[in-house]
Symmetry: C2
Subunit: 266 residues, 2 copies
């Protein structure tokens, strides 16, 4: 455990923290950055402590922040104080929140999911927008989903943008990452209904025969789900489209379906 | 009408187009930028033509683009060809789509809304994120809403980010901008039920007594709705929150409610 102050931009710790904003380096380190007292408090309440806490030297005192600081030091972590300019360099924001934490990434293998833990799960395939990904995590938290499965090449859930959009759900919602040819055999190895929002061969989403554990899958923002993925689903449902467009934002479609399934099975 | 080629970064037209990415200059000009063939095609199908069309000189020929070009010239508009580097400067993106259009902003007074035109409307108060705003426009299109009302200081619906997230709904969904002290008297001057997603004094959102025209209002991403705005609503509804958090993304909450109201009234 240690507590120290950093004043130079070229300090190796500053460089290492700044590097966590880049996916490649983040993956190499197996670490990610979460910013702001609210996120860090959410994490602490879920039993997740940062390995490293970075705080603005000129911050206002706050009992929640002091509690996190004490816990991090007690757990053998590091606490660093620095100035606003360096904090801005680390977080890449002009107005950084006064605190950020570095966390070890979680296990995101399919084994991290317990299909008996909840009546519904969310899944996203090739979801590219970190904001959408974070929003789906937040929705998964709200509906009490047993987890979010990221299928194929999705945005990185540990990016600063996704973590921020998740509003803390990154710490509460079990997360799995898998290729389709890993996910489908895993799903079929136990109980589980796979449901897609679809325009092909679909039934109305309201009153459809959902069954627990129900896995609600949405596709890529531009292309939707591949046709063979849809064909592999147990149920294809469609939502009314009264306008010119034939689709919703992926995170929105997932949420509308999730609340319908929650009403049916929850 | 004119058709010309621009090759210099310092060309006044390039500067004027680039300025449309800044809100202050956009408001002064009363013009906004929409990028990509899909958006421009959506616009054309809704009878909206750009005053000015900018195209990459090295683009691939496309019949839909040629149709737009012909219409713009026939309507007395301008067509400009330029290179990828200048197009990137205009759009602010490294990989700009090969075409962008400049449109006159629409009338966004409350008079633009017809409360008899649809059973439901969306409203957002102090919504700050242009992506959320565009997503709400897209949802409004999907549920066949009669419009989206932006209350108080919201993100600019004519920003490049909001236009992009709307996926063309900026051209299809009637849009109004008003202060709360303009909106509420306007609403009370005719029929209209004001509904808020709320945790205070609220009934379950499923099976609530919705009445057309139903105005579904969501609040700011961080603060939600002001307490007195909620108190002024005819109905406060709440959605199940099974997780740690007590809220959803604003655009998601609006969409879940909108689909519920559509099922009840549509």
């Amino acid at each position: 455990m240690s507590r120290r102050t950093i004043t130079g931009f070229s300090n190796p710790t500053v460089k290492a923290l700044r590097a966590l904003r880049e996916k490649k380096l983040r993956k190499r380190e197996g670490r990610f950055l979460a910013e702001g007292l609210r996120l860090l408090t959410d994490a602490r309440e879920c039993g997740r402590l940062p390995e490293l806490l970075v705080m603005a030297a000129g911050r206002e005192a706050h009992p929640l922040l002091e509690a996190i600081e004490a816990d991090v030091l007690a757990a053998g972590g590091d606490v660093i104080e620095t100035d606003d300019a360096i904090l801005a360099k680390i977080t890449g924001k002009d107005n950084p929140q006064a605190v950020a934490g570095v966390f070890a990434e979680f296990d995101t293998s399919l084994d991290a999911l317990d299909r008996c833990s909840a009546p519904l799960f969310l899944a996203a395939q090739a979801l590219r927008d970190p904001g959408n990904l974070g929003t789906m995590l937040r929705t998964a938290d709200a509906v009490g989903a047993g987890g979010l499965v990221l299928i194929d090449d999705c945005a990185d859930p540990f990016s600063v943008e996704a973590v921020r959009a998740s509003m803390g759900a990154i710490f509460t919602v079990p997360l799995a990452q898998a290729r389709w040819d890993e996910f489908l055999p895993w799903l079929r190895g136990g109980s589980g209904q796979l449901v897609a929002a679809s325009l092909r061969d679909a039934v109305p989403y309201r009153g459809a025969e959902y069954a627990a554990p129900c896995f609600i899958m949405v596709g890529n923002e531009s292309r939707g789900l591949p046709e063979d993925y849809e064909a592999a689903c147990d149920l294809r449902v469609t939502m009314p489209m009264r306008g010119r467009a034939d689709s919703l934002n992926a995170a929105v479609a997932g949420a509308v379906l999730a609340y319908e399934v929650l009403a049916a099975l929850g």
